[in-house]
């Protein structure tokens, strides 16, 4: 996983509440048993004029040339709610997004971001709205910075706002760590726990 430390990039505003994972990647766009080949299906229902089609809807933010190369997404509360499909994060990451700023995230989506090098940044709606207002007149010039080392977001006008992220998630993202590798280093502790647990709860072990 690619480590994330600090990113300055074009930010695209999609300020809506409850953006669900069906909207991020519709079921019909998940065509293969694979983690790749999903970027085309990102936001398909909003991004294209017809279901299943590829003609771009000019009214959708990601089709606006002003937001070309966007790597930061600005959104509303409860982002990534709904289905657990990790394809939503795979599609966002493949498209180029490395950070999402939202008032809150669904817990499963939040976990999926951390496992795929995408930083879920929780900030008050007013802060995100303020950043969006600065970005909109000139998105390519007015870039946004997400600094995971300092845990702050810097708006185009230079104003920094601190954000909180749990220490485990931050470390995973900063170091680009593979959680399975890390946990397998604790294999002996797991085996010992299972052995003791087997005598406490023998009915669990099949």
């Amino acid at each position: 996983m690619e480590p994330f430390t600090r990113l300055t990039a074009v930010a695209a505003p999609l300020i809506r509440a409850n953006v669900d994972t069906d909207a991020i990647i519709p079921s019909r766009e998940m065509r293969t048993v694979s983690k790749v080949g999903l970027a085309d299906g990102l936001f398909a229902g909003w991004r294209y004029t017809e279901i299943g089609g590829r003609e771009r809807n000019p009214g959708f933010v990601l089709n606006d040339p002003a937001y070309q190369g966007a790597r930061i997404l600005l959104s509303g509360p409860n982002f990534g709610c709904g289905s657990s499909r990790e394809h939503a994060v795979w599609a966002l990451a493949e498209y180029g997004f490395r950070a999402i700023l939202a008032e809150s995230f669904s817990p499963i989506f939040h976990g999926n971001c951390v496992r795929n090098g995408v930083v879920p940044v929780e900030l008050p709606a007013a802060v995100i709205g303020g950043i969006a207002a600065q970005v909109v007149p000139a998105p390519q010039e007015r870039k946004v910075t997400v600094d995971l080392v300092r845990c702050e977001v810097v708006a185009p006008d230079g104003e920094a706002t601190a954000f909180r992220i749990d220490a485990e998630a931050r470390e995973m993202l900063l170091e680009g760590l593979d959680a399975i590798d890390l946990t397998l280093k604790r294999c002996r502790a797991i085996e010992a726990f299972r052995e003791a647990d087997r005598s406490r709860r023998p009915w669990i072990y099949l």
């Binding site: 409850n18 019909r28 279901i51 299943g52 509303g76 499909r85 399975i180």
Partner: protein, 468 residues
């Protein structure tokens, strides 16, 4: 120190504190389905990793499969077959227990788990599926994860998890006749919003919860993910133990006695601490239906569509207007006057035997209104057979419902089958998102009996009007 049910479940599975704010939690059961599980198994194998406890991992086919009688690996979804065959091959190669298409134990993952005695009180269970919280109804700590997390659970029998905050939702009194767990879930969503339990583990308790049958408890816990909860739990009681006794993967003999003695301690201590407490009065709950494109946009079926001011605390103006436009509704409009194009009974929310019995009671001797496409998809092959043994299939078919094989079906259109553009559907499922059930399909979530009554009336209808 007084502990909640969740505290007890967590501490019993705490392998180690990781020193990073997260805990290493032992996972007792892993369930997979062909849409998100196959990719996890494939990725695990590609990395050369093994499943640590394959006997405690299970796979079924539910998401992509067709539900037409006589189905096989081919699906309406163009590449569905690849999901099915990849999952089958990977599950068998990894030594997992597989409930394949023709297996009488096949069904929606959260429906078959208790049928087979896979979920147990006091167990941890994960599945790459957001509705895994359904299984908290059995006193288990069960939560939905992504595919990468599923790989982690398979490879290590653990997950690295930050301890969630806790919310108690205490439901006093009794639900009125004709009001169900689904209505209660939608009522709670309307009260708290779709982010109302964000990241929390929710414990449902109180007289109304104790009074719910086991199918109703699963419906309620199922909808906790729509509150953005980490999961939901209900303290297991004698009805839970009685149901699980003798199930294929449940303990037997002396082990059973030992297990039940342990399970009886699984309840929150008096004075236990929760981060939030919510009180709900069951008597205030009416049959509910959603009007918008989020499950929080729910109202009593007889109530007018709310004005913006009434929902301004949880919906932005844009979201409110967008929902009304998508659903072709107006502020103050009456849902009961809306003609419907289709009616759907199914999904991990409302497809169990009690759901089908209640819907059949409404449908018996009645006909679906002309022009309404009506479909019933039992939650598992076992539920289907039970319903057929009781003659419920005849009631559905004679009323004009299609009677299908088990699967997730048109809860979403992963299987390639969907309702039509701009069709108005009343559905016993869990999500009314834009295009969830078909391109531009307009979904109204409700209880199975409300779906049945609406199918008969040809418009959204209060099932109490058809009560006998």
């Amino acid at each position: 120190m007084a502990q909640t049910l969740f505290d007890k479940l967590w501490s019993a599975h705490l392998v180690e504190e990781l020193g990073s704010g997260a805990d290493l939690i032992l996972i007792d059961r892993i369930m997979l389905h062909e849409r998100t599980g196959g990719v996890a198994l494939k990725s695990l194998a590609a990395a050369g990793r093994n499943v640590m406890a394959p006997g405690q991992a299970f796979a079924t086919m539910d998401h992509v499969v067709d539900t037409f009688p006589g189905r096989g690996d081919e699906t309406l979804m163009p590449t569905g077959r690849a999901f099915i065959t990849a999952t089958r091959e990977a599950a068998l190669a990894a030594g997992l227990q597989l409930f394949d298409l023709a297996d009488p134990r096949q069904g929606i993952v959260h429906v078959i788990s208790p049928e087979q005695g896979i979920v147990l009180p006091g167990a941890t269970l994960v599945c790459p599926d957001s509705h895994t919280c359904t299984q908290g109804a059995w006193g288990a700590l069960a939560w939905g994860i992504g595919s990468t997390e599923a790989e982690h659970a398979l490879a290590t029998s653990t997950l690295r998890v930050s301890r969630p905050k806790q919310m108690l939702i205490e439901v006093s009194g009794r639900l009125a006749p004709g009001v169900t767990a689904k209505d209660l879930a939608l009522h709670i969503l309307a009260e708290l919003s779709a982010a109302g339990a964000s990241g929390h583990v929710v414990e449902f308790a109180g007289e109304a919860i104790e009074g719910l049958d086991l199918d109703g408890r699963q419906t309620l816990c199922n909808m906790a993910t729509e509150l953005a909860a980490f999961s939901a739990v209900i303290a297991p009681d004698e009805r839970v133990f009685e149901y699980l006794n003798g199930r294929p993967f449940a303990p037997a003999g002396e082990l059973w006695e030992q297990a039940v003695a342990s399970w009886r301690t699984l309840k929150s201590d008096h004075e236990a601490h929760y981060d939030h407490r919510i009180a709900i009065e069951a008597g205030q709950v009416a049959p509910m239906v959603t009007w918008g494109t989020s499950p929080q946009q729910a109202i009593p079926i007889g109530a007018p569509v709310p004005t913006y001011d009434e929902v301004a605390d949880r919906d932005s103006r844009e979201a409110y207007d967008r929902a009304l436009e998508y659903m072709q509704l107006a502020s103050g409009g009456r849902l009961e006057e809306l003609p419907i194009d289709a009616a759907f009974i199914g999904s991990c929310t409302n497809s169990r035997i009690a759901d089908l019995r209640r819907a059949a009671a409404v449908l018996k001797g009645r006909k679906v209104a002309p022009g309404v496409k009506a479909i019933c998809v039992p939650g598992s092959t076992s539920v289907k057979r039970q319903a057929e043994a009781e003659g419920l299939d005849r009631i559905f078919i004679e009323a004009g419902f299609e009677w299908r094989e088990s699967g997730c079906s048109m809860c979403f259109f992963a299987g390639g089958e969907s309702f039509g553009p701009r069709e108005r559907v009343v559905s016993s499922t869990n999500r009314n998102f834009e295009s969830r059930q078909g391109p531009e399909t307009r979904s109204h979530l409700a209880s199975p009996e409300t779906v049945a009554a609406s199918a008969v009336m040809g418009r959204l209808a209060d099932p109490r009007g058809l009560a006998r």
